[in-house]
């Protein structure tokens, strides 16, 4: 077995965005790295993600974006998590133009993982985010 306490990660796509191949690959990757992946899949809302994150007590929320809505939905997701008092880091993956990355991190997104991110980097990013979540009171 891997970690004594596996890192629980929630994975979802928000809104009208039907490309979930990438998210499924990431789910498998994280599973193989010893994480417990709570997979919500397609057509979620920021509200449904917050409810699931509370019930599942996850350490990280991973959102996949392929519809260009990241600048709207990324900050909205971070805000919804903060409003619920959760302190769970939000990581965004998918297609995000380089110039938008700082805008997202400024808005509180913990990390942005684009296409071609090496598996090890993605896993390390999720683990680091999980540690930061646990450090919160």
């Amino acid at each position: 077995m891997g970690d004594p306490e596996p890192v629980r990660v929630l994975l979802a796509k928000l809104g009208f965005d039907g490309h979930d191949r990438g998210l499924k690959v990431v789910a498998r990757m994280l599973r193989d790295a010893g994480c417990e992946v709570v997979y919500l899949g397609l057509r979620q809302t920021v509200e449904s993600v917050v409810v699931a994150a509370e019930q599942e007590d996850v350490a990280v929320i991973g959102i996949s974006m392929h519809n260009g809505g990241h600048l709207t939905l990324g900050p909205k997701m971070v805000q919804a998590v903060a409003n619920a008092g959760l302190g769970i880091p939000v990581v965004i993956g998918g297609i995000v133009p380089a110039e938008d990355v700082p805008k997202l991190t400024d808005a509180g997104v913990a990390a942005v993982l684009g296409p071609g991110t090496p598996v090890e980097v993605a896993i390390a990013t999720v683990r680091a985010a999980a540690r930061s979540a646990r450090a919160l009171p």
């Binding site: 891997g2 709570v38 919500l40 699931a52 019930q55 599942e56 007590d57």
Partner: protein, 344 residues
């Protein structure tokens, strides 16, 4: 604050409707160490009284979708309060190699369950023998302590798990789909022996009626044990994708509950559940010690047989006392009480 105070504070919040607090408490049940014991002690003191329904069936028969609808049907019957009245525990397997897991049951039950305020928690089985997460019985008590009245446990029905779920649930529902197999399949041991309610899902498909008829004939022959004498498992037809037949299924589950309560079977069952859980937890400790002993023992072929080795280890593990079932074992009378098999 002490740990106890923190946990008890979380439980108060959970009863006031905090999903986050309940989520946190459920994580404690999964730690597998003293923290799980602490939260269990707290939950037991509250004496919750939740009805526990187990859903078993092969992958792909529609368990998750049906569970979502069933949870919604249960929620419609419960008076609305701040705290959730209906909860789902969805168990999926962990990888034996990495310990990781993909918990995907929410995909098929979330929309309908969320609309009715159902609390859904996914659990990886984390290598538990028997296939049901060790945390499940504790999680059931925690949910009960938080005021949840109906708990639906959904799990993958492969191998030993059917028996495990029957040792946690008050009512076990076995789900099959149209074209699930013939009379011989039904005669095989396992799924049908523990089922108290039988469901043929995907009833809009051809052959659904044939599947129902096969099951009824099986019941006539007494092949389906139904958990206890005096209860004949009803066979229901559902279409989980549309919700058709779900209200009738819920009524059948309620009828089983009424029967359990009136027949006095419920108390006997809870007693058996407790004995089974204690046995499982004791076995875990014993098996850890056995593994440690194995790791430090050089084992080789011949002249001793594997059975000779096993008896030697067993004898060392039990402080010189061997298996009481084997009169030849040293240091134990033949008529010794068999503590290895409690009557569960």
């Amino acid at each position: 604050m002490s740990t106890d105070a923190v946990l008890s504070d979380l439980l108060t919040q959970a009863r006031d409707g905090s999903r986050r607090a309940l989520g946190r408490l459920l994580s404690q049940t999964e730690t597998g160490d003293a923290r799980a014991g602490e939260v269990d002690r707290l939950a037991i003191a509250e004496q919750g009284n939740a009805w526990v329904i187990g859903i078993v069936g092969a992958p792909g028969v529609g368990k998750s979708t049906l569970t979502g609808h069933l949870a919604a049907a249960a929620a419609r019957k419960q008076p609305a309060t701040r705290a959730p009245r209906v909860a789902v525990i969805a168990v999926d397997p962990s990888s034996p190699v990495t310990g990781g897991a993909i918990l995907g049951d929410r995909v098929r039950m979330d929309a309908i369950a969320a609309a009715h305020g159902v609390f859904v928690r996914s659990m990886a089985h984390r290598g538990a023998a028997g296939g049901l997460a060790n945390a499940v019985p504790i999680a059931v008590r925690v949910l009960g302590a938080a005021g949840v009245e109906v708990i639906i446990i959904e799990t993958v029905g492969v191998g030993q798990v059917e028996l495990e779920i029957a040792m946690v649930a008050d009512t076990t529902v076995a789900v099959m789909s149209a074209g699930w197999g013939d009379a011989i399949q039904a005669s095989k041991a396992g799924l049908l022996e523990v089922a108290e309610v039988l469901v043929v899902n995907k009833a809009d498909q051809p052959d659904a009626r044939a599947a129902q008829r096969d099951l009824e004939q099986m019941l006539d022959l007494g092949v389906v044990a139904g958990g206890a004498a005096g209860w004949r498992p009803p066979v229901l037809a559902t279409v989980a994708t549309s919700g058709e037949g779900v209200d009738a299924l819920w009524s059948a589950i309620e009828a089983h509950r009424t029967w359990l309560e009136r027949s006095g079977e419920l108390d006997a069952r809870h007693c058996a559940h407790l004995r089974h859980e204690v046995r499982g937890r004791a076995l875990e400790g014993i098996s850890r010690r056995l593994d440690a002993m194995l790791a430090s023992t050089d084992i080789f072929y011949g002249p001793d047989t594997p059975d000779d080795w096993a008896r030697r280890l067993e004898s060392r593990l039990c402080g010189g006392h061997g298996d009481p079932k084997r009169p030849s074992s040293p240091g134990m009378p033949a008529e010794g009480h068999d503590i290895t098999r409690p009557e569960v």
